[in-house]
Symmetry: C2
Subunit: 777 residues, 2 copies
């Protein structure tokens, strides 16, 4: 609910004109050497084998597109953001429309680059029923050939139109606040606050019997500078009918307090004036909401000493083409894209020169709450509506990622502005903290280092900080991991015992499910693949050598033949393996090479609630743990940001992907969920910690190569010795010691005074501080 203020169309918080801040290189972020014989190895340069077809729009592409859209010739009657009212038409998101897989494969195999098109979201406000609609505009950069047409083919609703029920959001909040003036004496008595010290928290409006219903709740303003609003709800709720666009027709329907529904102000006042009226405990803000170091003076033994830290003694062991968003680490390489809705997506991931994954990335994130009160009960976020991209903020080196990381910036464009967050993706290697392989015998030991390469970004969508990690391992595995920290969304405690723990004087830790859907378009030795299930079953079996039948186990191999069987749960007791295999390319032993998908950490979940009254037809990707469908250019994503605006009739209903198509040696796509049930307890105050708030899935080679590929690494050692005999050991294969053995740690303790947060640039009318021909966004 707090997230609405950050929503798609509620951009009031944006500073409307700003200067572009220079992005200064930060030489401190690299290890310096002291001695003269200690030269820093040069970070290796690389050029992408081909231009990145998923590269977000350049400054020039965006600026010329916006100019073209606003030109009278297009007849769109758009108003620039600075002059915009909710009754105008306006441009929303403008970004690259992800090219079709068929076109990109052709390009990767030597064909022409796919024509670049824009996805343009337009808001139409000059109507009683405002709506947004998506358009496809191209070719980009604009030329005489450029046209604009409704974008329909990627939405199985049939069109890209979505109603906007909160078009007059600013007016709405003012109107809702005015209700409070009628009950300010009651508020002061039962909440301890008035309209100056409480605020209106509005949920997303929903359609009920043709009316637009909005529930609102009072919440404390934080008394500190901390971002703690989401854990300071109060126990008073308002039900309003905000149908239409005339505030004079909007109505307060009910007041809700202590599980009693009152028919308006008069009935509520009468009850309050009646002796014996039950007044609930009031919540008060305080130190308990502050994320800073606790000021109570309690200290932890030896905690003031600097803890262990990771260093990188010989420079980067990976290379990045920053112009093309292309990354190569060891035997892996990939491109990245970035979108306003979903943040970073990885494309064309190759391993040892062959594509294993065409596309890997977030699709949507549900945070579904429940409660006895209407705010918690009616809250179910689909976070791509707010967008992950805008909140991929600058990272803190040494805390969020190692100081020696390669940091990249991210940008997106909305409402005529470009927004840039510098240093908001980090790429780094780190020791896993345990070896990759080891074996000891009485006279022998061999151990291999486990260096993991990570692409990380964090998106703080309102109260929650989602950390996304894509981890690459030397055995060919890829792990996708999500963690959640930040503030919980708390409930007012009253009557919420069945929905959470009481975690402070008048606060309940509102139970909720996080379900984050990902797409993994795996291609094993080509696009034609099959989804194999290898079940591990208990059985009683007769053997020719056994006098009696034996209780044992065996494998049961089968294929998921078509989409009717494509909705899958992780099996009880993990008693099955799921593998994307290529049955046309058996290995020399006759087994099918494949990539297996399996849970990593934190037992990823699907949504608890069946047929959610909140999400209606927009959570079909949350009913199971994973899904397999046939790849189609018309089904590129399991959801759409605008689904949130019409949950019963969303742009993309993932359930409709399942139409009995064959999955045997077809181009198949796996969709899997990460996430966790979260029933916050006192330890979630002030913030949830990542420790138990994480889940991951592995994509791991399975009979894919003929042996463990980590045998090729130089970072392993073998020692042979005679037990109990001193100095008898012979060391084999040990990697060479770095030439420079002196490290200056100063760069690992950076000065954060340059931390800057997001930058924005007006792209229409164009802000001339920036060269429109620069290739940088």
């Amino acid at each position: 609910m707090v997230r609405l203020t950050l929503g798609l169309l509620a951009l009031a918080a944006i500073v409307c004109d700003s200067t572009v801040s220079a992005i200064l290189p930060n030489p401190n972020r690299r290890i310096r050497r002291q001695a003269s014989n200690c030269s820093t190895p040069v970070d290796p340069a690389i050029k992408a084998p081909k231009p990145n077809p998923w590269l977000p729009f350049s400054r020039n592409e965006t600026a010329t597109l916006l100019e073209w859209l606003h030109a009278p010739a297009q007849g769109l009657n758009l108003t620039v953001y600075a002059n915009f009212t909710p009754w105008d038409n306006r441009v929303g998101v403008t970004e690259l429309l992800i090219p079709n897989k068929t076109d990109v494969l052709n390009y990767l195999e030597g064909g022409p680059a796919p024509v670049r098109y824009a996805r343009v979201e337009l808001y139409f406000g000059a109507t009683e029923n405002p709506y947004t609609e998506d358009y496809i505009v191209g070719p980009i950069p604009v030329s005489e050939a450029t046209t604009i047409n409704p974008l329909n083919f990627i939405y199985n609703k049939g069109n890209g139109k979505s109603p906007v029920y909160a078009a007059d959001y600013q007016l709405l909040i003012q109107w809702a606040e005015s209700i409070g003036t009628q009950i300010s004496d009651i508020m002061l008595d039962i909440l301890g606050t008035d309209l100056n010290t409480s605020r209106i928290i509005a949920s997303d409006p929903k359609q009920e019997d043709g009316r637009t219903i909005l529930w609102a709740q009072y919440g404390l303003y934080p008394t500190s500078e901390y971002d703690s609003g989401s854990i300071l709800p109060q126990g008073l709720f308002l039900k309003t009918d905000i149908t239409g666009r005339k505030p004079e027709e909007w109505k307060l329907l009910n007041i809700f307090y202590d599980n009693i529904l009152y028919d308006g102000v008069d009935e509520f006042r009468k009850a309050w004036e009646t002796p014996g009226f039950n007044k609930l405990t009031k919540q008060v803000d305080g130190n308990w909401t502050h994320t800073g170091r606790s000021s109570t003076g309690e200290s932890i033994p030896l905690d003031e000493r600097a803890p262990p830290i990771s260093i990188q003694p010989e420079g980067q062991r990976f290379s990045v083409d920053k112009d093309e968003n292309y990354v190569k680490w060891m035997d892996f390489e990939f491109y990245t894209g970035f979108s306003r809705d979903l943040g970073v997506t990885l494309y064309n991931i190759k391993y040892k020169g062959k594509r294993i994954i065409y596309e890997l990335g977030l699709q949507e994130a549900i945070a579904h709450y429940a409660g006895n009160d209407p705010m918690q009960s009616r809250t179910a976020y689909l976070d791509s509506y707010y967008g992950f991209g805008p909140y991929v903020f600058e990272l803190l080196p040494g805390y969020d990622c190692p100081t020696y990381s390669t940091f990249l910036k991210t940008s997106y464009s909305e409402a005529g502005y470009s927004f840039t967050n510098k240093d908001s993706i980090c790429l780094f290697e780190q020791d896993a903290g345990y070896p990759l392989q080891r074996h000891t015998s009485r006279d022998f030991i061999t151990v291999t280092k486990n260096t993991v390469f990570t692409l990380r970004f964090v998106s703080t969508v309102g109260n929650y900080d989602y950390n996304f990690d894509y981890n690459f391992y030397l055995d060919g595995s890829i792990e996708v991991k999500v963690r959640a920290s930040g503030y919980i969304q708390a409930a007012f405690y009253a009557n919420n015992e069945d929905y959470g723990y009481k975690i402070h004087d008048a606060i309940s830790g509102s139970m909720h499910d996080h379900v984050l859907n990902f797409k993994a378009d795996i291609d094993v030795l080509g696009v034609k693949n099959t989804f194999e299930k290898v079940a591990i079953v208990s059985d009683t079996v007769d053997y020719v050598w056994s006098p009696i039948p034996r209780n044992t186990m065996r494998l049961e191999r089968s294929f998921v033949e078509n989409e009717d069987d494509g909705k899958i749960n992780w099996p009880t007791n993990s008693a099955a393996m799921y593998v994307v295999v290529n049955t046309d390319e058996p290995n020399i032993y006759g087994e099918y090479p494949g990539y297996r998908i399996l849970p990593g950490s934190g037992s990823p979940i699907h949504l608890t609630i069946q047929n959610s009254s909140n999400l209606l037809n927009s959570a079909e990707f949350g009913t199971h743990h994973l899904y397999v469908t046939k790849q189609k250019d018309t089904e590129p994503r399991s959801a759409a940001a605008a689904n949130s605006m019409d949950l019963g009739d969303p742009l993309v209903n993932f359930g409709n992907f399942f139409d009995s198509e064959s999955l045997v040696q077809e181009d198949i796509v796996v969709w899997f969920n990460l996430g966790m049930h979260h029933v916050p307890h006192t330890g979630d105050l002030p913030n949830t910690v990542f420790t138990t708030g994480q889940s991951s899935v592995f994509l791991s080679p399975h009979n894919y190569l003929l042996g463990d590929p980590s045998r090729f690494t130089s970072q392993q050692v073998e020692v042979r010795f005679t037990p109990g005999v001193d100095n008898s050991a012979v060391v084999k294969d040990a990697p060479s010691t770095p030439k420079c053995l002196v490290v200056d740690m100063s760069p690992m303790f950076p000065d954060f005074s340059t931390y800057q947060g997001g930058e924005q640039t007006r792209k229409f009318p164009y802000t001339d501080e920036v060269d429109p021909n620069a290739s940088d966004p």
Copy 2:
């Protein structure tokens, strides 16, 4: 099967007399500073608050115990190991009998130290039916008051006696090999090897209808110096009857080849001579079994550069009393014990001054195989029979653990010898690789470092290397994690399609389950606790504020009332939380403080096979994911090493722990399983890698404190800034930068020529190189 040669009574591999090698301090394992103002912080010293009641026997305690046992006065007629034959009596394991919890609690609360007793395992060989029996001997150190009695009270079989069916193991192997002389021409033809190039692999003998049946299989001798025997099985099997102790009465019953059972040598020879006899593919050893760096010349880009490495800039931030095996890190402290059967156990784990876990440690490890052939089908290891303690080998600094770790040695005593592995436990801190907490808003960021403290040891039981981690977190969580690397046990490929993948010319990756049982005796604010289940359920609910019922979810709280309900599986879709709570001590908000138990990584499993024909009554701890029972001094462990010797009638049948006792506000114990299904594929050659071969469980505070305890750490930072404005950031709470910022990395690249492996010392008759009064083992 290969593990039998390392078994409880088959100590032939031990060098029978050896000198004690000096344990040299290794000053290289500490970070040195260069500049004169760079003084190494002193590693903090600590003295355990009380002597460790679980401390393993000292040299003196062991030596005087052995002398006492062998004295004629005791009438045990024991033979010293050097002169031992299977027809003699002999001492086996001698170690501390873990004191009763009731006695230790009394001691910890100010009472006298528990009297120390020995568990003494004796082998009685001068009989047609050899057996072992456990005795309790004490007080220790021996005195006039010392007595010896059968040890019965911890075994719910009623006594500590176990039959020894493989007493004449050496003779048996010789006898089985002699069978090969009758078929050496056939072997050469169908295996490509003879008795010089193949060996007999014998499984554990089992009782069938009153007879002792032993199945044996031929296997290649490794042609290299690598420990690859377990992946070189061949397709020829022998069934023998080895009942009794007279080799002349032992019989070859059958020969098994290509799924055909032959009645002895003659029938097999006749078949072989018949035209059309099907000869299976032969397996040949080669580079594919070698764990060293692959010699094929394939290299990985940039892999020769040294990868990132963890350093410890300001010395240890924890302290260890090495005399008392007592460890203190931040707000955690605990004692350790060490046993031959199970390796390291943690005791009396306190957090912020209060005990949260009385005992935490491994109980038993199953590795259960299956297959169409009698060797794989009949193999189910209970690894404590071989013992984890003996194989807790020396670790490799910089590979197994950071070089700056504190390394401890381990010792155990068996057959009159003490065995010591130096540097075989490591204690270290490391950055988790991701923050513990973070939150960003438009003008603010706060992040907390996530430093984790780990106690690690590795036990290589035959082919498998089990890595055990006990991880401690700043939020109060403890993670128990097991990983498996090393060589798999492969099957011969023929007819094993339903039991594994074909992973080389004639080898199948034999499917198996790893199930490792742990005990967690959790005490939340005292010993009287209750096991709470908080289920997360989908439901349709009527609310007073909603016109229609709503599809939502809610919590369902209940207690596991008694042991009848004490066998629990992790719920489908993780839809329940399990918490050990103290209902007598609700917090100020009325919630029960507790420690929650939940899966961490790798989806821990229970055994697939129901009523295993191999394990019979000895795997009752493997039927579910976790168990809750009432704590009893007579039920200290869920298994016994000797269970393996009589699986149908084991010393400890865990199933009998469940006798309807109340679990409501009683002293309760949680037993949980880690492990994984393992269906090896080509990537398991030559060794399994840890990446997907790991599982963990978290024990995590749950409403235990009133907030997140990590708020007290100094290792966090807060930055406030004005978005887009340069140099506006204000940094708060940043930890102080280390005084010394220059690090010499030389110690991180240690010289392994001092690697030594295990040491042994004869304790009876006493080897006089060592002072028997030294307190060290």
